[in-house]
Every structure is written in structure tokens, then in C-alpha cells.
């Protein structure tokens, strides 16, 4: 058995209600700027935002945090992360992934289903839910598989997963595309009673198979790397939005990577089709030229694309065609990357660096303001995932799921210093803006003074 980051404090599997993780502490944030607005004081008590106003008095026993003009955002919500547990605890655990998330300003993370065993039944998703609560740093929302074993042949037990304690609302075969049109149609229909969304990894396996690893274009031809053409993603999205219209369901497109995909989604939304989309930070910042040295730290699925696509993705995120930033946090043990490019594992770390990258690429360039960033990284993801309590407005009475970030402070990414067990980040040595000073999960600080808070209090209080 592999050790988790936190001790379970003698927990057994019983249903937990939100109050049990609520903090009874009080915290006063002095001089915080909600959504980048004017500085105010914010009082957190009993897990809620109690009061917002200028120069609030400090109640007895309250913790005082001098925000010093830092920006206050709703706690970030990630729709797409791989926490690797169960099965690959040598690369990441729910606990270490949660730590990376909290340090990145996240209060909720959706954990994808391609674990080992696959999360295609109620038992596994409930197991992941418990692991998340034991870690106690973010709300881990298990994602259920669409097809049994991710094999793309028959439906997984979607109903059981939706009705389980994990209350799964996002279903995805991510890692694999639901390529069979008939199965995709059935799955879209089947999800309707549960108010759940199907998150598709758009990659037609007949146009881009398992060996495809680099954007098909001038560079892949020159380097001799198997091409992953943009059309392999765009053709699936085009098909899926039409199926979504036909079935009257809800579709979410994972990790959009091409300008053509943005065009299809924009068209679909203009026709009233219920489709949402996410983009990863690395696709907003990095281009495929980085592959020249054959370093697999840049190997990701879908692959890095040329500058024209990066531009289109930024524009799409700015105008809301793309609803959310999702990390697709994909940790790997070093030996899985220490191979030739074509043989190495796909994936890039993302939870701890996402906010910095998005600030750098979208806010500092004026493409999004802070309200826009909050919308794409918290508000809309929470809606898409049907996640109550997160992505809420910063007003009194709302749950205190918040993050405090100082955009003026910059930090340098050192792979070994990240909280993730793995080190496969493409940003090694890069300076990112925005240091997360504090993160609050229902009023309790998971990050304070820029460091993880290791709670010494039991995660469970008496019911």
C-alpha cells in the first residue's frame, strides 16, 4: 500500500455532510480586492462570507490576514485533472494532487476516470470521493467513465454513479474518444435524467491513432514524428454538436486545441446548441516549435499546436466561446517520460501553475479582466459541473470558497519544489505572475502565507 499525504484519523466510510468540513474559525481579510475591485475588508465566519465592508473591526479570536491589495477570487474550479489514484500512486495521489491544487488557488477539482481500475462504477467513484475528503484540501469531484472500462463499446453504470455518494455529474472517457457514433448518441441521451454532462476527448482514432504525437504539419514532417492533424479533433466536435442538437442533451468539449474547433463551437453556440468547452493553460501559451529537441516534457494529448491556433484559443477564451480553463493535470513518473518522444507518456502538470499562466497570457495582455478570469476559472466550471457552493459571487452569505492572489508577486517554477509527486512541467525555470497567498475551503485556510496549511484538527467532527 502506498502512503497518502494525510492520515485518515480513523475514518470509516460514512456519508459526510458539508457542515463537517466547515471551519468554525473566523478570518478577517484586510484590504482585499474582490475581482480586482477596490480594497475592502472581508470577514469569513462559520464557513461563509459573513461581511464585506471598509475597515471592519477584528472580532475576538479571529485570524487577521493583511491582504495588502491582493486580488480576491472565487476558489478556482478545475473540470479536468488526473489524480492517478487508484493505480498509479507512484506518479500522484489524491492527496498530493489536492495539495498542488490548493497551492494553485483551487477549491474544487474534477478527477478523471482513467484510473486503474477505471472509475466506471459506484464503488470506485465513492473511493475517490473518500480519498479527497481525507486529504481535506479541495473538494474532489470524481468523474465517471462513459463506457465500461473506457473501451468505447457499451455504457458504464452511469445511473449508479450519478446516484452514489459521489453524485457524479460529469462523465468522460478522457484519454480515449467516444468514437462510435451510435454509442455517443446513446450516451448523450442516457445522461439526460441526471442533469449530467458528457465531456468528450475529441480525437478520431482513424485520423489520429495512439501513435500520433505531434501536430501534423511542417515540423512533424521534418522531425519524423507521427502526425496528429487538427481535423481529427474538429471532425469529432462537428459530429458531436450535431448529435447534441439532435438528442437535446448537454455536451462539454475537453481540451480544445485548434482554431477550427473554436469555429465549430462558436457556430454551435450561435445555433443554441448546449455545448460548453474548456482549454488548457499549456495550449494558451506553448507552441509546437518546442518539439524540435524531442523533449517529451512537451508531449501532450492533444498536442501543442502552431501560433495561429494559440491565438484563436486566446480569442475564443476571451469572447467566451470557450467557457473554461481546465488544467488536464497529468502527472507522470520520470521513467515514463525518459523515453524517445514517440514512446513517452502523454501529459503535462497543471494545477499549481494554471493561474499564473492564465494571468500572464490573458490578464496581463488585457484579453480578460479579473472578473473574466473568475468567470472562466471558477464560475462557469462550477456551473458546467453542477457544483454547488463553488464559483459563487463574493457577497455576504455565500460559502467562503475563495483564493487570494497577489498579481504583483512573481515566482519561478522549480519542478522539484512543486507539490505534485511528479515533475513533468514544461515551465521549468519560467517566471510566472501571481502568487497564491491564501486559499479557503468553506472558510478554512488550506493555504496561508503562500504555504500549504497542514491541519492538525481532525477532518471529522461529531455529527
Amino acid at each position: 500500500m502506498t502512503p497518502h499525504g494525510m492520515t485518515p484519523h480513523g475514518m470509516t466510510s460514512h456519508k459526510m455532510t458539508p457542515n463537517e468540513t466547515t471551519s468554525h474559525e473566523m478570518t478577517l481579510l484586510r484590504g482585499a480586492r474582490p475581482l480586482g475591485g477596490r480594497p475592502v475588508d472581508v470577514l469569513l465566519a462559520d464557513g461563509l462570507i459573513a461581511e464585506i465592508g471598509p475597515k471592519l473591526p477584528v472580532p475576538d479570536g479571529a485570524e487577521l490576514i493583511d491582504a495588502g491589495g491582493a486580488v480576491l477570487l472565487p476558489g478556482l474550479v478545475d473540470l479536468h485533472a488526473h489524480l492517478r489514484e487508484p493505480g498509479r500512486e507512484d506518479a500522484e495521489t489524491v492527496a498530493t494532487g489536492s495539495a498542488a491544487a490548493a497551492l494553485g488557488g483551487y477549491t474544487a477539482v474534477h478527477a478523471m476516470a482513467n484510473t486503474n481500475p477505471v472509475a466506471d462504477n459506484a464503488e470506485i467513484v465513492e473511493q475517490v470521493l473518500v480519498l479527497g475528503r481525507q486529504a481535506g484540501l479541495v473538494d474532489v469531484r470524481p468523474v465517471g467513465a462513459v463506457s465500461a472500462g473506457l473501451a468505447g463499446e457499451r455504457l458504464a453504470e452511469i445511473g449508479s454513479m450519478a446516484r452514489s455518494a459521489a453524485a457524479v455529474r460529469v462523465f468522460s472517457d478522457d484519454g480515449h474518444c467516444v468514437a462510435d457514433a451510435r454509442l455517443m448518441r446513446r450516451a448523450l441521451e442516457y445522461l439526460k435524467p441526471f442533469d449530467a454532462v458528457l465531456a468528450q476527448h475529441a480525437q478520431d482514432p482513424q485520423l489520429a491513432d495512439g501513435a500520433a504525437c505531434a501536430h501534423e504539419g511542417e515540423l512533424s514532417g521534418r522531425l519524423g514524428l507521427a502526425g496528429w492533424p487538427a481535423v481529427a479533433e474538429e471532425s469529432i466536435i462537428a459530429r458531436d454538436v450535431m448529435l447534441t442538437r439532435h438528442t437535446g442533451s448537454r455536451l462539454h468539449v475537453c481540451h480544445v486545441s485548434t482554431g477550427g474547433s473554436v469555429e465549430v463551437i462558436r457556430w454551435a453556440k450561435s445555433r443554441g446548441i448546449d455545448v460548453t468547452a474548456e482549454v488548457c493553460p499549456h495550449h494558451l501559451l506553448l507552441t509546437c516549435d518546442l518539439l524540435t529537441g524531442y523533449d517529451p516534457v512537451y508531449k501532450v494529448n492533444p498536442p501543442l499546436r502552431p501560433a495561429e491556433d494559440v491565438e484563436a484559443l486566446r480569442a475564443g477564451l476571451a469572447d467566451g466561446t470557450i467557457d473554461a480553463v481546465a488544467t488536464d493535470h497529468a502527472p507522470h513518473a520520470p521513467h515514463d517520460k525518459d523515453h524517445a518522444f514517440g514512446d513517452a507518456a502523454f501529459g503535462i502538470l497543471g494545477l499549481q501553475t494554471a493561474l499564473g499562466v492564465v494571468i500572464s497570457v490573458m490578464v496581463e495582455t488585457g484579453l480578460l479582466d479579473w472578473a473574466g478570469l473568475a468567470d472562466r476559472m471558477s464560475v462557469r466550471p462550477a456551473v458546467i459541473g453542477r457544483l454547488a457552493g463553488h464559483g459563487r459571487p463574493i457577497v455576504a452569505g455565500e460559502p467562503a470558497n475563495l483564493t487570494l492572489v497577489d498579481p504583483a508577486q512573481r515566482w519561478t517554477v522549480v519542478p522539484g519544489e512543486l507539490a505534485s509527486l511528479a515533475s513533468n512541467t514544461p515551465y521549468a525555470g519560467r517566471e510566472l505572475p501571481g502568487r497564491v497567498l491564501a486559499t479557503f475551503l468553506r472558510g478554512r485556510a488550506t493555504v496561508a502565507g503562500g504555504e500549504l496549511v497542514r491541519s492538525r484538527r481532525p477532518a471529522v467532527t461529531g455529527s
Binding site: G221, R222, L223, G224, Y294, A340, D343
Partner: protein
């Protein structure tokens, strides 16, 4: 000379000339009774092949031995990925035995370049995936030079499965360095992505190209192997159709000028990309290519491995005497 030979693009025209000239000198050794030169005496060269290749490996093995090196063959096929050992560990383990040079062949593009970044010894690329095969391009140039003289301004046509050909990539780079013109001929399905940006002419019409109507008179034609398995990927319809459109049969042979040789890196699919008649004609230099392989690889090993390590730019600065 640089520390490694990973790509045909690593070599300046002057360095290419030096290697080919050295190969001419070393070629003479094949006629001697004592086939030994002391160039790599006391050095250890390991042929680290992750992909089978009797022909290339034997060629490097003989080359190393004729240069008096101690040569070991390590067949790493089936190790690494399948056994869970990383490429890095496999390479470092072999290199840790105190080798002076690794000659590496791998099925994945870029693998040899990665290995060169991890080990301390010299690395020679014996073929990485569909990326490059620099010593093949050098022996092709050696063979062409013997037949045609200096290659500046000569027109070489390369035909076949270009998408999957490391021989094609290395040849385009090397021939261009030597000032030759290159035309690539293949059906659209076998043209590499982005080939329009390569430093050469492309055509779908082999007849027009060989007749001199696409890029001028042809001085040499190189036929590349087409794998029959590619039919299942939809790259071409049938063998019959491929041979009819892109095979070097008697009619196409007649289109060539008198002096133009026919090259093939081997192994040949007789009847598919090259007819037996063409393969066995006096124009065919296929066996010359094979013979050149040893001399050229001796020259490569000499230039990359012998001598003290030097900073770039001083290659050839020494004066004989």
C-alpha cells in the same frame, strides 16, 4: 568535427568533403591482406541497436574492427519500453561500461538525439525512426561522387515512400549541402507533411520528372523501398497500381540519360518499386552502395571518435607532416 553525428544537417560542406575523401582512402583497405588501420586502437565502440538491422549493424561492426576498435553488439530490441526500463536507463547502463562511442539505431524519431543528451561518449546515428540516417546519405553521396564526379549542380530524383523514409530526409539535407538539386516524387499520400517547405522540388509525376520536364535533366535516381503493409493504411491502392505509377520499369529506365545511375538503399522489393531489370542493369549501383557502406562508416567513426575532443570550428585545422 562535432562530438556526435546525429543528422546530415550537422555536417558542413567541408566536413562532408573530408569524410568522403577519408572514405576514399579507407576504401583501399578492402584490397589489402591485412585489413587493419590503427585509427581507433584501444577504443571501444558499442552498436546499440533497438531495431533489427543485420546489414547496417554488420557494416558498422566491420568498420569499427577494421579501424582496430573493440566492437560490441548490444541488441536492445524488446528491452526498454516493453520491460519497463526507460530509454535513459538502458543507454546509461551501456555507456557506463566505459565505451568511447555508441552507434545507435532506434525505431522512434529523436531517440538517438535524446541518448546523446544523456551519455558522455560519442554518438553516431544509425537510423532513428523515420527521421534520419546520416551514414546512408553519406554512402549514397560517396557512390554518386564516384559515378558522377563533384555533385554541385547535379540533379538527383528520390522516389517512393517519403513519409516514412529517414533515408530521404538525410539525403535531401546532405545533397543540398553539396549543392545538388533534389526532386522528390511520390503519390500525395506518401508525401511528408509540410514537404512544401523543404529545400527541394516535389512532383507526383515520375515519367515527367525522369524525362526532364519537371526540374530539368536528371543525373541520378534513387528508388526507396515501399512497404507492402502501407496498403492497409490506404497509402496506395494495390501493388500493381503502385508499380505502374511509381515503379522503375524498363520504359522509365529508358527515359534516363545515359550517365545516370540507379540507387536503392535496400532491401529491394523487386517488382514493386524497382523492376528486376532495373536492379540488375549496368546502371544499378546498389552493390557499390553496400561496399561503400563500410568505407564511409570507417570514415565517420574516424572523424567523430578518433582524436581529442575539440570545440566546434577547428575541424581540419591540423596540417599533415
Amino acid at each position: 568535427m562535432a562530438r556526435h553525428l546525429l543528422s546530415a544537417a550537422d555536417l558542413t560542406p567541408k566536413e562532408i568533403g573530408q569524410i568522403l575523401d577519408s572514405a576514399e582512402q579507407m576504401d583501399a583497405i578492402q584490397n589489402r591482406e591485412v585489413k587493419k588501420l590503427p585509427a581507433l586502437r584501444g577504443r571501444t565502440v558499442v552498436n546499440l541497436f533497438f531495431e533489427d538491422s543485420t546489414r547496417t549493424r554488420s557494416s558498422f561492426e566491420i568498420a569499427g574492427k577494421w579501424l582496430s576498435a573493440d566492437v560490441i553488439n548490444v541488441s536492445a530490441k524488446g528491452s526498454s519500453v516493453s520491460k519497463g526500463e526507460s530509454l535513459r536507463d538502458t543507454a546509461l547502463t551501456v555507456a557506463a561500461m566505459g565505451v568511447d562511442a555508441l552507434v545507435v539505431r532506434h525505431a522512434s524519431s529523436g531517440a538517438v538525439q535524446r541518448i546523446a543528451g544523456w551519455v558522455d561518449c560519442h554518438v553516431v546515428n544509425a537510423g532513428d525512426g523515420t527521421h534520419e540516417h546520416p551514414t546512408q546519405a553519406l554512402l549514397d553521396a560517396f557512390t554518386l561522387r564516384r559515378r558522377l564526379g563533384e555533385l554541385t549542380g547535379r540533379h538527383v530524383v528520390i522516389v517512393g515512400d517519403l513519409t516514412h523514409s529517414r533515408v530521404a530526409r538525410s539525403n535531401v539535407l546532405l545533397l543540398r549541402s553539396l549543392g545538388a538539386q533534389v526532386t522528390l516524387v511520390a503519390p500525395p499520400t506518401l508525401m511528408p507533411a509540410g514537404v512544401a517547405s523543404w529545400d527541394c522540388v516535389t512532383s507526383w509525376d515520375l515519367d515527367a520528372t525522369l524525362a526532364g520536364k519537371v526540374a530539368g535533366d536528371v543525373d541520378a535516381v534513387m528508388m526507396l523501398r515501399v512497404q507492402r503493409e502501407r496498403m492497409t493504411g490506404g497509402y496506395f491502392a494495390t501493388e500493381r497500381e503502385y508499380a505502374a505509377s511509381y515503379g522503375l520499369g524498363p520504359a522509365r529506365l529508358d527515359l534516363l540519360p545515359e550517365h545516370a545511375p540507379v540507387l536503392h538503399p535496400g532491401p529491394m522489393n523487386r517488382g514493386l518499386e524497382i523492376s528486376s531489370m532495373a536492379a540488375d542493369s549496368p546502371r544499378s549501383v546498389v552493390l557499390d552502395q553496400v561496399r561503400a557502406g563500410v568505407a564511409v562508416r570507417m570514415a565517420v567513426l574516424y572523424h567523430v571518435v578518433a582524436g581529442a575532443d575539440e570545440p566546434a570550428g577547428l575541424a581540419g585545422a591540423g596540417v599533415a607532416g
